[in-house]
């Protein structure tokens, strides 16, 4: 995990609507990550589509790299997309690490979905405090690690 510096975590609904986008970066504006998350949808659709109707893997790996940012993608079985943006470390980022990271995000999302009052088909952003705190924890944890390896 040492070389993973999370810049942003985005959760995108199945209709490509943003559910939650968090910016952990100090150098980039929020807008940038919104754009990145949005552009990732295409790549995710393409990757997930290429894998056939029942993809064996929900982890889609590196979607693309742009400037100093690497964009990773993950799609749940319900077509909810997770996008993690990392700053490029010039080192190998192990897929296992990324998988674990996405698993964590997935768990947080599952907890959110388990809330009976949460509207699965809603297009509103997720505002649950617990959810936000958990995502923040994932983001800041890895970036802290990056700062103090």
């Amino acid at each position: 995990m040492s070389n993973i510096k999370i810049q942003s975590i985005a959760i995108i609904g199945k209709q490509n609507n943003p559910l939650y986008i968090k910016n952990f970066s100090k150098s980039h504006p929020d807008l940038k990550f919104h754009y990145i998350a949005h552009t990732s949808c295409d790549v995710i659709d393409e990757r997930a589509g290429a894998a056939g109707p029942e993809p064996d893997d929900t982890y889609l790996g590196l979607l693309y790299a742009l400037e100093d940012l690497a964009v990773y993608g993950y799609v749940t079985n319900t077509k909810v997309k997770f996008v993690v943006v990392l700053s490029i470390p010039d080192a190998v980022i192990k897929n296992m690490d990324m998988r674990n990271l996405f698993k964590k995000i997935h768990n947080v999302y599952i907890n959110q979905v388990c809330n009976p009052f949460y509207n699965l088909d809603g297009k509103k952003s997720i505002v649950s405090k617990k959810f936000v705190a958990s995502i923040d924890a994932i983001g800041s944890m890895s970036s802290d690690e990056a700062v103090n390896p």
Partner: protein
Amino acid sequence: MDSYPPEFIFHHVPLMAVIGLGTARDLVEQPTSTTGSIQNPPSSKSQSRRSSLSAASIPISTKQQLSRTLLSLLTAKSQVGIWGPGKNASAVFHVVAVDKNHQFPPRKPTMRPPAQTQHLNMPIAHSAISPLTSGSPVHPDGLIPPIWVRKHREILPSVVVGFYDLWHHTSPDSIQEKEEISSTQEGTSESMDKEKDYILAMEINERRKSLLERGIKFSAVILLKTQNIDKTMDERMFLKDQAMDERLANIRKVSGLDGRHAFFVLPSSQYGDFQDFVTNLQKSLYEYGLNYYREHGKRVKRKRSRLPSPSGNFMRPPLSEKSSMSPQPLGIQGWMIRYDYKLATFAEFRQDMEAAIRYYESAYNLIIDLFAPQSSVTPGATGLPIRSKRWVEARILADTISLKLCKLNLYVDSPSAALAQLNKHVSTFKDISNTRGIGEDTFEYWAWLSKQYRIFADILEIAIRTGFTIPDPAKISHNTTSSDFRFSMSSMSSISSMSSNPNTGSGINPTMVLQHPGFYYFMAAKYNSLRRKHFLNLEKYMKKEGVDNSILPPQDILDAEQSIDHSTLTIELYTKSYEQFKAQKTGRMTLYLASEIANTYLDAGKYETALKFFERIAKTYRKEHWHTILESILRWSLVCAKDLGTWEKVVEYLIELLSDQFSISNQQRIEIHNELTDILFKITLPEPRQVMIDMDEINSFLTCRVQFKDDTTFIGAETLFQIAFSTQAESPPIPLRFTFLRLSYNDSYFNHYLRDNKIEKDNTKLEWIDCKNCLKEDVEGEGLVWVKDVDLNFSKGITKVFEGSIEPKESGDLQLQAVSLGFLTEQWKVELHFNLKNAREEHSKRKWLIGNIDSKDEVTKPTYTVLNGTGERTSIKVTQKLARLDIQAKHSAPALLDEYYPIELTVVNLEHEEVKTFLNAEIVTDAPSNPVDSEDFITLDPTITANVTNNLKDIDIGIIPAGESVVKIVYVLGKKSNLPRTLHLTVYYSSTSSVPSTPYPARGWIEKKEDFRIHFIAPFSFSFNTSQQSESIFERKSEISMERVEKYFLVAKITTTSPCEILVSDIDLNLLGQANAQTRMEITASSIEIENDFQGQVWKQGNVYNVNYLLELTLMDIKKLDIDIGLLVIQWKRNQQSSVVKDTKIPCTESTVVVPQLIRKKAEISAYIRIPPNPIVGQLFTLVYKIINWTSSEKKIHVNIEVNDSFVFSGYKQTHFIVPGMGEHCFKVNCFPLIGGKMKLPKVNMERRGEFEGDEENIKIIAPGYKEVDEDDYFVIFVKPKIEI
């Protein structure tokens, strides 16, 4: 890429020089129609193949054409380019054509005494472009000039091919001479051949030798002419060939050329096959070409190995004061770079990509060291002085080497390495630039960076076009086992850590993933925009006072930069990227790029274009709820629109920005709000503006829901609807007061226009507003609308529900199509338009707000109730109200034809109020056709028979109180046809309290329809019998008259078929007027006149009544046969009045029947019998038969009398007599009645006999007062018995 010397960029392939085919200029300058396609050398392979084919297929007659064809084929594939044919491509030379007398540049003199290059400072024997030669562009300390590469690319060939014609004695002469020479002077020509061949061989040999010195392979091609082989002279062919072979072998021997790879013959028979020849030629010489460069490489390698180590042998002190000013000779490091570069170039020439990469890398690593302030390779040496000539040259060299490395790595299918080289190059120079003060703060750096990415993208694009494929990132894994060997060096640390990890799951280094060129174009564009930013900053800085000019870049660079249109360049790059992404079908990425392009336009001040872009991309972001992005786009659009003065758009953007979907602070929202109100109410515009904003298309701070309370309604019923507006929790930040609220229906009659009442009052969270009882007013610009003043002030987080009512006036669907909230100022008419026509997504239960009105007539605490169904109801089905009225009919069926048939209608009012009722009735025959002829009618009063029709309209039935009923009798009279009739009844009514002003059918009337079926039967059936009576059996009319009088007896038999009793008041025979005045008919007697007590006879069903008439017919024309008689008219009515009618006396009606026409017999002979009255048994009586002959000729009559038991008769049983023309004969039969009672008279058969057999005719006997008899029947009389007892 164009800014670099092309020599440094182009791909190198071995050079072949061609002698004897003219020069390339000839090829271009002397095009003929046959070789036109060669004029513009095609670039792609397929094109070149086509052009060569076309060239080859053309018959070649002249030497010039032949040369041109060969040359064009040779040079077709040797198009110089950035991307070479690839290592697997077939052997291809870069071909240059040189003149026959062309002298290749001589060898460097140093090479002749090979052992003289020990010392570098030897003043002699250096190439003209060596740094050691003064006057060379690189003297004294330059690295390598482009000219050196060009020398090897274009001037010094690796292989030279000479094309020569084999001399032939005929070739310069005319055809006639040829004949002569070939036949007679063979010996002479042979010796001449030999001589010429020798000269040719010597020439070739000379060339070969001179080139051999330089190590250049020489090949000769002998072109045989068509004349050399004469096809007509078959017998000599063989000999000729042999002689030719001999000659060719001789030439080869003398010229000292090796037969296989150096001496070629192109016979004329192969002229059609140049392509193969050219390919084979190049293929067989290719190896020699490679060898040539290999030798060069070896030579350079030797020289490099003789160089001393730069660390140990640094000759001069690094910083001698003087020498820093005057140029120093090239250092050892510089020579190393030179040699490495040369080695790499030669390796590339021989297509040894791996070696080339290795040498280029070595050169690259050495060259970047030159830029550092302190060299690490050559200790103590300083780097190149910044911005000096050598610095610029070296940077170009470094850039192009890097470029070559990227390209060659793509060549060898090592994409990661290519990308790594780019990254290395960029990061190295970033460091160098930063340390030397020309780093990230300067536009120069960004210009350079943008260029690097652009070039990389260009190369990648070219590579992809040539068949290179970008690796799928999902399938890449970077680890120690990666085949990409260079990778392991650049990320050593991570790999070492990974190898220690037992879970060596594959990973990926994002920097090493080559992506498609779009990404790199994007970077280039991005950096170019930074370049612009920095340049603009610099310009700003330069305008300030007291600028330190020393830190500014040189003036010429500034001037050059000044002239660059940065924005256009950036947009071009973005557009290139856009196209790449578009090709990849990543639509959202293209949107991002479009937004970048738009921003660039915005920066460049091209607001209109920018706005167009923004508008186009905003849609997707809006649709997919990417509000943060949308907000930024809207803000940029706002800037554009303001600048352009399109205030309508400004208002639209501001209204959308008010939505709290955008996570902006309250303060910002207030600013937006204030901006909006300023624009609407404060600023002055040249002309009034009008804008309609479709709120369904944007993020709206207002939501609008519409409900009709019920699903259906009736015409004229009060129909309630509610329109609920909700504002968002955070918006509008300050209460917003609209001027009007317009409701638009599909029927504009119902359109509402609610105005603000301008009463300041705090909004409650949920408010119920009464909009019923509007007034119809003519509002300017709106037409006639329902108007009311209500509160239209909206603050955040509230819901206002407007309840109104309408009264539909006709059936159908009534739809509330649109709701608009608007501002109306002197400047503006702004409408926030909610379109309700399209179905909107809404799944919640339908709600209805009930406003409770308290004692003070104030609405307090409105509460919701739930209605049936979900979603919205924007339309309502309007139907006619169901009539609550019952119609009953009472009548005694069946109806008889021709009678006033009474039907008692009972209309029962089931409404809860009294109603005013009207009736329409119509009687229609169920006839399949001809209903028009119907004479049926329907009436209320049977005594009035004028103007009756088959329908009744708008009969006022009167006012029926609730629950009560009214009886109305209608009379139906059916005529002629006994088909069933249908009585259509329509009762329409309205409440007495609201009788509509307009007559039925109109709004407000409720109608009820009912149909009844009535069966009709005829009351009577008639049968008629007419029989002729003898006129004046004993006397004829005394006066002389042409008239003939006949008497007829008419019996009308009337049978009552009516099931009910019928009271017959009169029977009458109305004679018809005759067509001819001379024909008259009179009733001489009638049975009814006789019995005067006819009045009031009652006939029952099955009763038969006979009416007899004695008719006298007077006529002139005895030939007239058909005589109209007249109509029998029966006056009658039902005896037993139906239960329906009690009081009213129904008058009698007439049934009329036409008496059939009288058919007169066209008889020549008439026979009458006179039967005496009252015969008594035992009393003799005489039957007189009178036979009249109407003709002028006599007739013979046979008579035959049949005996019967009742009478005894006297006379002949059988006799005959003659009746004269126009005469008559009496024939008597005396009868003695034997028995009393009804007896048949003895039958007399009369027969007229003609002259010959067969001409016979029975004569009918007519008895006055008796019916005509049938065949077997005869007259029956009543014989009284004897009264003697």
